[in-house]
Symmetry: C2
Subunit: 142 residues, 2 copies
Amino acid sequence: MSLTPSSIGAVAEKFGVTVHTLRYYEKIGLLAPISKNSAGRRVYSSSDIERLHFIKRAQRMHFSLKEISALLEVERNSSRQKPQAQKLVAEKLGEIEDSLQDLIILKEDLSNMLNACLSSGEGEDCPIIEGIGKGPTKDAPR
Amino acid sequence: MSLTPSSIGAVAEKFGVTVHTLRYYEKIGLLAPISKNSAGRRVYSSSDIERLHFIKRAQRMHFSLKEISALLEVERNSSRQKPQAQKLVAEKLGEIEDSLQDLIILKEDLSNMLNACLSSGEGEDCPIIEGIGKGPTKDAPR
DNA sequence: ATTTGATCTAGAGCCAGCTCTAAGTTGTAT
DNA sequence: ATACAACTTAGAGCTGGCTCTAGATCAAAT
């Protein structure tokens, strides 16, 4: 239904990014060089658009641009370099699981602090400031 | 038991940061100017150390340095500006809950993709590449 | 014909949170 | 006495992912 090819402005609008971002993706090699018309302007083909869809979806899945490059590389090299793709996704899944554990605990801590603060008496010190002040000082995933 | 005051190197080691980081925190006002000895070298007092503990714990709780400044501000202004502290923590809790929702769904998606890939036949296309290629292109919290 | 708006390139700037460099001073060990 | 480590400052550099600027060119509308 959509009538590709499109200008950079149209593509930018379609994906909710700026033209700067599109040129940036191209510059860092995330998008292949976009073909130009006689006036030297970019004309995005439907496969460019597809690639952008892929990029934006992968970004939603918390893949970095570098990781997305790797995924696209996998896609290009052969129609199924499954082990490579599996590795990348498994790693990401591991990261996500770690983050989940971290956030679950953090949520508990924060909501405890908040409740303590809400139910604390007028004259008492703030349980939040105290709470952060007194907790353990351990390393955390960053 | 610990014998403060301490040199910048000792403090850096204690907190697992570099001396650069400590000076950086001071430069951006996260730590108050550390007093200097006769040779112009920083001498960290026990209250400086306490503040650092606070900073590092708050960082573990995903507060940005800017947010930590705000928390420290709250602490300084009065021994209990509870509403302010509550606001900051409630906001952070909201962010954490949003992230959790996001990650829970993402974890599902990734593990589905991984399973599909593991159980896919030799000749088939990679379900991971296909999966990312075909999903919805929606905005996500960033 | 002129203005407006979209596009082009090259390159600088921004934010967070460090991280490092250079050139100089001081404290400690042998 | 001299080497060497730890410290000082000011300021530059780094990563990631944009974001913007300047100056030029080009296309469409009035």
